[in-house]
Symmetry: C2
Subunit: 237 residues, 2 copies
């Protein structure tokens, strides 16, 4: 891997993947790509821009997808549906979280493969995690292996999919981030909350998972620290 | 297969696939989807609309993709490049036609899988042909098999890819069209020419392949017939 293209949402996992790619032995140049697909919160794009800048990427493209290019009942693409509070995977209908967007990761990998081909990149990096997949079928290693094969068969040049955090739970992802120079600083500006709140809501599945990972790793979350300092006097009243 | 979603470009192969799906035993409902991705010619969309109407599909969505969502040097997505005259596959750089758009069929199948999921469809039908693939890696059975696997792994519900003409050359595709009630009439409004001319230019790879197929099948092409009748007196002058 010499010239990876990193799919950067601006979240914790993709930020860690970006710094993993940047610090990977033999890597000469890192490119980033972010998809704006009618997420409900522009804050995610701002996070991605800031993180990419901090990683000094060779290029960063924000691909604006038209509203409705991905359909589904997920509140992430459909304003008629609200994000629910996470209880447990067992409580989900069909074992699927209500935030599942059908074919989202397939689409991201496909468009990224097109750009990787044009940029001369030899790898795609995506921050999916099988540990925390919460019922998303397209976060599993079986999906990534099949998609890697599909891209290999469908493209004239080999572009490999790399998934640095696929086997890591959030605690191990934090452990990895700590070891990657510059990554913790960038995580200060990363975004996680499904509800798009800042400071994060603390009650959605994404917030709970992130908090659990930092707690188990014994590290304080720089994103939370940033909003704790300076202390807000009104919050104490 | 009960409820297929057909990827309809409005060309000969996808038109034939649409009627194949419509006449397939046990099929209850046929849906169609067309991608408008900055093709140079609106005529392709018009063909798709007319063909879908003739097939009386249950729904037909035209998905408008933003300009530049697929990049590449192909004249099909890049107005700076002209469509060349086709000579032979051997003459192509890297064995690839200059009309290759990286990841195009992966993208179409991905977005179609998202829609199929939302519509409750159980199959995706695409008119790729390995016989005439002209160097496009994403028209080969190996790619389709890999992509079928990727969709199976990435989606919570099984949506199978069906490729009725993958093993057929253009002659055999014409033989199939003749046997599918209503298909020849719809082919009158189908579109093939890469240059977007009507009557077709007759010299691009697509026109040459289509003409060869009809000639070898011993059938006259209804698209050509339509532009021959009534005779144009000026053309004879």
């Amino acid at each position: 891997m010499k010239k990876p293209l990193v799919i950067l949402s601006g979240g914790q996992d993709s930020t860690t993947c970006l710094f993993w790619a940047k610090r990977y032995p033999g890597v000469e140049q890192v490119h980033a790509i972010t998809f704006d697909y009618g997420q409900r919160h522009a804050i995610e794009i701002e996070s991605a821009l800031k993180v990419a800048e901090m990683a000094e990427v060779a290029s960063h493209e924000i691909v604006k997808l038209p509203d409705g290019v991905l359909r589904g009942t997920s509140p992430l693409v459909n304003a008629d549906h609200e994000v629910g509070r996470y209880e447990s995977a067992e409580a989900l209908p069909g074992g699927l979280e209500d935030t599942f967007v059908p074919a989202r990761n397939i689409l991201f990998l496909t468009l990224a493969a097109n750009r990787a081909y044009c940029l001369g990149c030899d790898a795609l990096v995506i921050g999916v995690s099988q540990e925390d997949f919460g019922g998303y079928p397209d976060c599993r290693i079986e999906f990534i292996a099949a998609m890697d094969r599909a891209i290999a068969e469908g493209m004239p040049k080999r572009i490999q999919i790399r998934t640095p955090v696929i086997a890591l739970n959030k605690r191990l992802t934090v452990d990895l981030a700590v070891r990657l120079d510059g990554c913790m600083a960038a995580l200060t500006y990363s975004h996680t909350c499904y509800s798009g709140e800042l400071p994060p809501c603390g009650s959605c599945h994404a917030c709970l998972l992130r908090a659990k990972g930092f707690r188990e790793a014994g590290v304080s979350d720089p994103l939370i620290e940033r909003h704790r300092q300076p202390a807000n006097p009104e919050a104490r009243a």
